[in-house]
């Protein structure tokens, strides 16, 4: 192989090969073009993304079409896993419950996070940075620790029950607080609060305050201003926050395991069992892929719904 260029002509950052040259472009020459340089620059993160993100997905995807044969994997193509994943009542129920939990969690989290983000952005003054810092403080403790602390709060002898007993509101501890879907929703909503607050804060920060003054000038009071300007312009942040919370919570299995009890089990717990104790990777993979697709569809529907709402707000 012959070098097309020498050090001397690296200054011509144009196309590979000069005018009238007929020699085929080599890799070196191709790398000197704008596009080539671009690819070169992003190649480390691209490689990283491919190995750590796309690679595993491909493995899962492939597995979902195979069959577990005791200790070995039978690599003939089959849709049997999907059939099982989508038709067996146990998995269907778990999937529906997971969706219900994750949609509820994302809505609850965003509804609770919005006022916080609004307050920091609009009323934070020069202490915005400090407020954001304070918001992240609870997240310095471990994930497990936070879940376990909700166990302490919601438990039979927990903070809420003893408090209510002391106040005489109840005569014996409530056993409906912990080990059910509601407990899972409460705990997850708390876990993801900061992740919802940040995108909401950013989108609220980006709203030009004179737009709100202009709305006031044109006759709108605070509520109409909020509905017609703040909310539609914060919509990208709201969508981002919903997705950031919803997508990972579908697959959460630690929280349901610790505070969900029998009724709080979610699809990820089943997937975990298939990859672990039950040792049926293909079924686990089919469950995972099904979940992924369904979550994507539900997210898309939510986005469309919100954009429609935004159009309505005009």
């Amino acid at each position: 192989m012959k070098f097309q260029g020498t050090l001397g002509d690296t200054h011509q950052d144009g196309k590979a090969g000069g005018q009238g040259r007929t020699a085929p472009p080599t890799i070196q020459a191709a790398l000197r073009t704008e596009t080539g340089k671009g690819w070169l620059t992003i190649s480390p993160p691209l490689l990283y993304a491919f190995l750590l993100l796309i690679g595993p997905i491909l493995v899962i995807f492939a597995n979902s079409f195979w069959t577990q044969d005791y200790l070995t994997i039978d690599r003939t193509f089959t849709l049997a896993n999907y059939k099982a994943a989508l038709s067996e009542p146990i998995y269907r129920d778990l999937l529906l419950r997971s969706l219900q939990v994750s949609v509820s969690v994302s809505i609850v989290t965003v509804v609770l996070a919005f006022p916080v983000a609004w307050f920091v952005s609009f009323r934070g003054g020069r202490y915005k940075g400090l407020w954001l810092f304070i918001i992240t403080v609870p997240f310095w403790s471990g994930y497990l620790l936070r879940i376990l602390s909700w166990k302490v709060i919601l438990g039979y002898n927990g903070v809420i029950n003893t408090g209510l007993l002391h106040l005489g509101i109840i005569s014996e501890p409530l056993d409906t607080l912990l080990y059910n879907t509601t407990a899972v929703i409460i705990t997850l909503a708390h876990s993801w609060a900061a992740f919802a607050i940040l995108p909401l804060f950013v989108s609220l920060e980006k709203i030009d305050r004179t737009l709100l003054e202009a709305a006031a000038d044109l006759g709108d009071g605070p509520v109409r201003r909020f509905m017609r300007i703040t909310l539609p312009l914060a919509m990208p942040g709201i969508i981002a926050a919903l997705m950031i919370v919803m997508i990972p919570t579908v697959g959460d299995y630690v929280t349901p395991k610790l505070v969900g009890g029998k009724d709080g089990v979610m699809i990820a717990n089943a997937i975990q069992v298939q990859f672990g104790k039950a040792a049926n990777w293909p079924l686990g993979a089919a469950l995972a892929v099904s979940t992924m697709v369904i979550v994507a569809v539900v997210s898309g529907a939510m986005v469309l719904l919100l954009l429609g709402f935004r159009r309505l707000m005009k």
Binding site: E213, D217, L218, D220, L233, K314
Partner: protein, 362 residues
């Protein structure tokens, strides 16, 4: 223009912490008047305009609009509308929706609303641009949409915060003419903030010149230019030659003074504005000094030497040093007699009208 007062501003002050950004200022703006607030950056123009519009509350003092106290009233309850310096076009709405924004609440019905929107768009020559999104407009278009959006509300007072400063020179001059036309045509009160003296002079019925939170003078453009109240006002509006002066005396409404190199001058103190002889400056506008060409007779004759020359196309600005004067005077001449041919270093004879001098504070 009627003489009925539209906006009354009485001893208004605005403090930010211990910093007094404005005041105390007082002014009366007549109904149908085109009133400008002119002053350098940071002098409090926007602050005053925002107080009139209700976006901020004055620390003290009172603002009346159309005979009603505005104390505590938010912008949405005031008979004013504002064209913001940044235009504040709603980016998620198209042009027609932007213009219709304030009409929505009135529930006019679809037909009446779109009739008014179309009329407002026609008024600012944006017919047909209705479906364009708010974030896809040029500077001039944004400015017109902001104007249409405010005018469609039929306010008693339109507040404009440097509405033309973001436009290029050509478009700015065109919009100045159009704004002035529009104001005459619809007859509502305009309060315009600007730091461009030509804009203020060319468009306004009256101008308030502001410095450091205070109003230095309120008068018609001609009055402000020809009879500035203070050295600061004169300096801000156009050029002014401040003369070295000895022996300044006043007697009633008359004054006399000795200007080294120019002789003794005398004249009337205008408008009965009293003046403290110890704090007075005499000046003359550069265009009021004229070159005396060979063979011309003139009285008085002032001899000087050209030390610099600036050519501006239709005019030439000569810097002339005069014996006895500390600073060289600037002389502006049109080029039709050949002022642009006078070489630097040559001697020159100047003259002026007897009443060309201005006495001002400072």
């Amino acid at each position: 223009m009627t003489n009925e007062t539209m906006i009354g501003i009485t001893d208004v002050e605005k403090h930010y912490g211990s910093f007094r950004a404005l005041g105390p200022v007082s002014a009366e703006i007549a109904a149908g008047e085109f009133f400008s607030l002119l002053g350098p950056s940071g002098c409090g123009k926007t602050t005053l305009l925002r107080l009139i519009g209700g976006f901020d509350d004055p620390t003290s003092g009172a603002i009346m609009i159309s005979g009603m106290s505005m104390a505590g009233l938010p912008p949405n309850k005031r008979p004013t509308n504002m064209v913001f310096q940044s235009y504040a076009i709603f980016p998620h709405l198209n042009v027609a929706e932007n213009v219709a924004y304030g009409l929505k609440r009135m529930r006019l019905g679809r037909e009446e609303e779109s009739r008014r929107v179309d009329a407002a768009l026609a008024q600012v020559e944006l017919t047909g641009l209705g479906p364009r999104m708010g974030d896809q407009l040029s500077g001039g278009q944004r400015q017109r949409v902001a104007l249409a959006r405010a005018l469609v509300m039929r306010p008693k007072v339109l507040l404009l915060d440097e509405p033309l400063s973001a436009l290029d020179k050509k478009l700015r001059e065109q919009m100045q003419v159009e704004l002035r036309h529009l104001q005459r045509q619809i007859g509502i009160t305009f309060v315009l903030v600007t730091h461009d003296q030509y804009e203020a002079l060319g468009m306004s019925d009256r101008i308030a010149v502001m410095f450091a939170g205070r109003i230095a003078q309120i008068a018609s453009p001609r009055e402000i230019y020809q009879n500035p109240a203070s050295r600061q006002v004169a300096d801000f509006l156009g050029g002014m030659n401040f003369m070295t002066c000895r022996d300044f005396r006043t007697q009633g409404a008359e004054y006399s003074a000795l200007l080294p190199g120019l002789g003794t001058i005398a004249g009337k103190l205008d408008n009965g504005r009293g003046i403290d002889p110890d704090n007075a400056t005499i000046g003359i506008r550069p265009e009021r000094l004229r070159i005396v060409w060979d063979g011309e007779t003139a009285d008085p004759k002032i001899v000087g030497k050209v030390i610099d020359r600036h050519y501006y196309g239709e005019i030439t600005n000569l810097l002339v040093s005069i014996e006895g004067q500390e600073n060289p005077v600037s002389v502006v001449e049109t080029n039709d007699f050949g002022a642009d041919d006078i070489p630097v270093g040559s001697s020159i004879t100047l003259t002026h009208d007897r009443d060309a001098f201005v006495v001002m504070e400072g």
